[in-house]
Every structure is written in structure tokens, then in C-alpha cells.
């Protein structure tokens, strides 16, 4: 590990991307992710990459498409309205199996919404987002340190599975400062040989390579779909990541990701001070979702509380994981509001009464 630095989440993410060997960054200004764009503008060219401010998020994602098709490590970042604009391009990339790193520093919606933090884009992130059957690998940092760490992982997974990987952050994680240490990372050791499919010219007269997401024959298109679904199953099997906190003796299990997992952890501490046995399961990968772990914990605890910065999105995946075998409560704030630890403690108490602890 290197030196400890105090950085904003957005800046730590950008710095990690440069250290992870990103060679192309294409983006468009939008609050609250502009520090990321500006960090790239200031630093990337001098450190061996290319920064370009696109004329729109639509153009940015298609620049990423083109650059990714050459086998180059590329990325873009945006915030919610901009991420909606990118969905068409992301769907194309998912089908054409183009690796890249996407970052959505989520703000409150719907519509133009607010510039304050939110987790309202969970569905869009984990259920596909654009048209057609596809998934992204979705990573959810909950600290400035993870804003950096998950960048390396994100690029590695994108390259390994030829899949767009998304870091689902939020306005507060992007703007807040914590200490961060950048790990040792030798880019060369992590690069994957993509030369069997990249479009860089028919060197030495080799066979033509082309990148497409168009297959007019239904039989062929179904074949492509089956291939993608098989790939997603492998990812589910191999790449599920989560953090368990004090779940060993828990009666109540909080499930929360990203920033709301930080509020929830504070609530967990406060509740334990009051004698309530609370644990937490924090998904780090939202796709693949830690279904098996939640299913397992549901057999131990008496009730589950899902805490999110939205109207209740991940809670649906928790329901899908455990069915109706155990009471599942939900607490969410919307529109840029953040669930406060004391509010969560109240919900924990309510749930405790309900399950007769």
C-alpha cells in the first residue's frame, strides 16, 4: 500500500482509474460527478491517456464503445440523468461484449431531480437499464477507499468477462473526503489479451474482425442471448461479494449498500448499545446479488430491515431471495435525503417489537 491521502470520493475514483491503466476517458459535465471529469482533464493526458469532453452523454458512451473495440481500457462517468441517456449505448456494448468501466454518481430523481445523493437508480443498474436482456456487473462502494478499490476490480472483471462494469456511487460518496491508500497494481499483469476480436486493422492480412450487436436471424440472436445468460450465471457463481457485520448473533439483519450502509452501521452500533442484537449484510456486488448469503442469514435472524435511499428497490431482491419466510421491513428516504442513524434505530425497534424480541 502507498501513502495515506485525504481525497474526495470522485477524485479517489479518478486517481485509481489512472493507476489502473485507463487510456481513454470520455465524459460530459453533470453535478455531482464533475470533479471526476475535471480530475481526468487535469491529469490523464500527462499520464499516458486521452481525455475528451464529449458533446453529450450519448456521444460519450459511443466514444467509449469505439475505443473499447480497440481493446483499450476505457471509461466514462456521469450522474443519473446522464446515465439514462447512455442506456442505448450500454445495451449495444453488453450485446457486443465490450469491456469498459461506467460510473454513475447517483443523484435524486426522477426527472432533473436534485443534485443530492440517492440510490434511486438501483433498478436501472441491476436489471439491465436499456433495452433487451442483459446485465452489467454492478459494484457499490461505501467509502472513499472503496471508490478507489472497486475501480481496479471493475476494470479486471470487465476485461475478464468482456462486460461493461458499473460503479454505482452517489453524490455524497463522490463529494465526501476520507483517507485513502492506493494499492500496488501492476497494470501489465492485469491486462487481458483481446487481440482475437479487437478492431485495429487487419494486421498482417489476418481475417476481418467486426463488432456488432445486430443479428437479424432469430436463431442467431437467441444463440447470442443464451451465451450472454450463461456468462451471467458464471459471474453469479464466481463474483458475488459482500460484507457481513456482526451477523453471528443477530436477531435483526439490516441489508443496505453504499452510503445507506454507513448510516445503517452507525444505527447498528447505537442499537447494540441499547441491547438489540443487530447485524448487517452489505452487498458489494449488486449484480451478482448475494442471494445465497441472505437466504442463509434469513434462517438465523428473526427479521430483516432493508435500508435504502429510494422508495424500495433492492428490497425486492431481498424478497426474491428469502420469499415470505421472515418479516421484511423497509426504510427509505428519497429525493436526496439520507436515512439518519436515529431514524433507522427507530425502525429496528419497531421491527423488534413486531417479531417479539
Amino acid at each position: 500500500m502507498g501513502k495515506k491521502l485525504l481525497m474526495k470520493g470522485n477524485e479517489a475514483l479518478a486517481e485509481a482509474a489512472i493507476r489502473a491503466g485507463v487510456k481513454g476517458y470520455f465524459g460530459y459535465p453533470i453535478t455531482p460527478q464533475s470533479e471526476l471529469l475535471e480530475y481526468m482533464a487535469t491529469n490523464l493526458d500527462a499520464r499516458g491517456g486521452v481525455f475528451l469532453q464529449a458533446e453529450s452523454e450519448v456521444a460519450a458512451i459511443n466514444m467509449v464503445y469505439g475505443a473499447s473495440g480497440t481493446g483499450t481500457r476505457v471509461m466514462t462517468s456521469t450522474s443519473s440523468p446522464g446515465f439514462s441517456l447512455m442506456q442505448e449505448g450500454i445495451s449495444y456494448m453488453a450485446c457486443a461484449e465490450l469491456p469498459c468501466l461506467l460510473v454513475n454518481v447517483v443523484r435524486g430523481g426522477p426527472g432533473l431531480g436534485t443534485i443530492q445523493p440517492s440510490q434511486g437508480d438501483y433498478f436501472q443498474a441491476v436489471k439491465g437499464g436499456g433495452h433487451g436482456d442483459y446485465k452489467l456487473i454492478v459494484l457499490a462502494p461505501n467509502s472513499v477507499q472503496e471508490m478507489a478499490d472497486l475501480v481496479y476490480l471493475g476494470f479486471d472483471l470487465a476485461d475478464k468477462y468482456r462486460i461493461p462494469t458499473l460503479i454505482l456511487s452517489d453524490g455524497a460518496l463522490g463529494q465526501m473526503m476520507e483517507s485513502v491508500e492506493f494499492p500496488e497494481y501492476n497494470v501489465e499483469e492485469h491486462l487481458v489479451d483481446h487481440s482475437s476480436w479487437t478492431t485495429i486493422g487487419r494486421e498482417n492480412g489476418r481475417e476481418q474482425h467486426y463488432i456488432t450487436s445486430l443479428h437479424l436471424l432469430s436463431e442467431k440472436m437467441e444463440e447470442i442471448n443464451i451465451h450472454l445468460q450463461d456468462k451471467y450465471k458464471i459471474i453469479q457463481k464466481n463474483e458475488t461479494r459482500f460484507e457481513s457485520i456482526q451477523t453471528e448473533d443477530a436477531d435483526i439483519l439490516i441489508v443496505a449498500f453504499g452510503l445507506s450502509s454507513r448510516s445503517s452501521q452507525k444505527a447498528l452500533e447505537l442499537a447494540r448499545e441499547q441491547g438489540l442484537k443487530v447485524g448487517m449484510l452489505r452487498p458489494i456486488t449488486l449484480f451478482p446479488f448475494p442471494t445465497d448469503e441472505i437466504k442463509h442469514l434469513a434462517q438465523i435472524v428473526k427479521g430483516i430491515l432493508v435500508v435504502e435511499m429510494n422508495a424500495g428497490q433492492m428490497v425486492e431482491d431481498v424478497h426474491l431471495s428469502v420469499g415470505n419466510n421472515i418479516p421484511i421491513d423497509f426504510y427509505g428516504r428519497m429525493g436526496g435525503m439520507i436515512p439518519q442513524p436515529d431514524e433507522i434505530v427507530e425502525k429496528i425497534k419497531d421491527l423488534s417489537k413486531q417479531v417479539k424480541i
Binding site: 485525504l6 455524497a172 463529494q175 473526503m177 476520507e178 454507513r262 448510516s263 452501521q265 439518519q340 436515529d342
Partner: protein, 178 residues
Amino acid sequence: MNEELIIAGFGGQGVLSMGMTLAYAGMVEDKQVAWIPSYGPEMRGGTANCTVIVSDTRVSSPIISSYDTAIVLNQPSLEKFESRVKPGGTLIYESNNILNPPTRKDINIYAIPATVEANKIGNAKTMNMIILGAFLSKTPLVSVNSIMEGLKKVLPERHHNLLPVNEKALKRGMELLK
């Protein structure tokens, strides 16, 4: 040790930089720190506040409901945060900007005329350092040296000629609450 504080005031009063300086100073001393800003609708002239946490152990949440210390620099901030200081906690306010002083009896309240003091020093912008000095004299979280190290990070290099006057202000603030 785990200190959770809110610093709140108008944009332009140096609220965010005061918090950031404290966070850097904590890191200089190898403590766990978090700094999280929250803006009002306008970047300047609106209310600005930031939460700072300095701790010996991992910071569980930068989002907190109640504070060990509130430092408030204007009336709206006092009204918003007085009730959210933990019983036995500390509230420091800038008395030149606040007409209706706090009323709670279960917390330690200190009034600092930092604007007047900063003008005496000859640089109105050092008001935030006077307040910070006052805070540190009651809650010695970090050393003056660490604060100055932090300030070197927060102040752009072209303003490093202002480091001595800021140090003076910091020490003046400490004297005020001795």
C-alpha cells in the same frame, strides 16, 4: 477518542475549509477521518455545513444524527443544529453574527466574537481559524502543528503567504477560551 462535529454557517465564511483543515490535521496524526459537505441551494451566501469526524477507530458513518460539537456561524445554523448537540456536548457560536443566543442548559455553550477578533488581527477571513482555535482549546483533538500542516493542504499554494496570519488567528482563538 471519537469526535463528531458539525460546522455550519453562510457560504463564504470558511465553513468547509475549516472542516477540511481539521480532517487533514486528523489524518496527519494518523487518526481515522471523514469530511462530508452539504450545500444550501446557493453555493455562496446560502447556508453551508460540513460534518467532520475524527476518530481512533474506523468511522462507521459520515451521516450522523447528533453531534458531540456544533460550531455555528449564523442564526439559521444555530436554529437548525442546537437541538442536535448530544447532552453534555459542546456548542460554539460566532456571537457577532447571532442575535438570539442558544438556550439549552444541558450542553456547554461558548460565544466567540470571532469577526471582531479577526478584524483586530487585520484579516477578516481568518474568522474561521479563530473559531477553530477556540474549539481546540476546549477539545484538544489535534495539535496546532497538525492544523498548520492541514492548512497547507487546504490553502492553494499561491496563498501560502497567509499561513502566518492564520496561525496567529488560531492561537488567538485558543487564548479566548483558556
